[in-house]
Symmetry: C2
């Protein structure tokens, strides 16, 4: 019998992905669930749903609530005061490509550092120099990695991850998917996803009714 | 010093309003927070945001996740297996008018019974007979109440509640608003809203940063 596992789909421009990224390692370890970090791009998925922009931009009331909610949640999580990326959503392509290129052992720390730069330090992650500094701060050979991340094979890797997310029904970020294909959307659903991953391991997961 | 209080804005067609309605009385009592039940109509608020239909209808992936999520959450809450209203969202105008007409003491029980009929019993709440039966089951003079609920003064009362919700920034349901105007959207935010209501009473609420 293999252990419990969970796929964590995240997008660097997504505020709630930031919250999930900062806590998932500790919470999943406590639950005994292995996490696979899977960066993807929300843009193509939003486009496929007919969005012309993030709903946080097209719906001003939803946007206003999201920032207040994020301020409250970062305070509760004892994270630094929230900074709001400008423009929003941030253009996260390079960061996502680097995250896709890194191996499973290095990807979480890099991803947390990108999110932290963006939402806690107010840095512009669309700026190549920010990505370089985040990599360098983690002891990586930043220029080599960026070159590899922008090579065709790795661009294709990120595209494939986005396609994988889409084929699993992912429509927003963060999303969590268990081995049986059960989809959980949103930072608020992390605990439910972990419970489901454990129930699945133990042969006790409820089946889908439809 | 007055006590802690919370305004609970709900829409009978909203699945997550059902979840909030079934638990808010117990959770708020435990927290020592008085709840004001405020039914409103989401339709005019969605229209003002440019929606042509519920996002759950225009976004099939979001809709699929919502029903799965609701099935999981009703199971966790030990509610009966979820039934899906057809058509969705239900046409909840009459039920909302009756809820607006009832006094504060009678509104919660009626509202819970409407939600239960809709999401646990698979009944059509747009059907006048369903609303009659729900009222009768609670010992009300159903025909008199429905006549009063459809009188111009009460139609205006519900319209005013919807306008009040809009002026507080409500853009979805359920929503919770504390005395300082802080808005919390979604059943998932009930506990945070209660915490804020108590902090406000105790003079310890964090202020908005923007």
């Amino acid at each position: 019998m293999s252990g419990a596992s969970l796929d964590f789909f995240y997008e660097f421009a997504s505020p709630y992905s930031y919250l999930a990224a900062m806590r998932i390692a500790a919470v999943a370890e406590g639950a005994g669930v292995a996490v696979r970090w899977r960066p993807f791009l929300l843009g193509p998925i939003f486009q496929a749903q007919g969005y012309v922009d993030s709903p946080f931009n097209t719906l001003p009331l939803k946007r206003a609530h999201m920032w207040r909610d994020m301020e409250r949640l970062t305070r509760i999580a004892h994270l630094p005061p929230l900074t709001r990326p400008e423009p929003f959503p941030a253009h996260a392509l390079l960061a996502a490509r680097v995250a896709a290129w890194l191996d499973d052992a290095s990807r979480p720390a890099f991803s947390r550092a990108v999110f932290f730069a963006e939402f806690a330090q107010g840095r512009d992650i669309s700026d190549r120099e920010t990505v370089r500094q985040v990599l360098a701060g983690l002891g990586h050979f930043c220029d080599d990695i960026i070159a590899d991340a922008e090579a065709p094979a790795n661009k294709e890797r990120l595209r494939a991850e986005t396609e994988a997310a889409k084929s699993l029904g992912v429509f927003g970020a963060p999303s969590f998917v268990t081995a049986d294909g059960e989809l959980f959307w949103g930072n608020d659903r992390l605990e439910m996803a972990l419970d489901h991953a454990r129930a699945l391991r133990d042969g006790a997961a409820p089946r889908a009714s439809a």
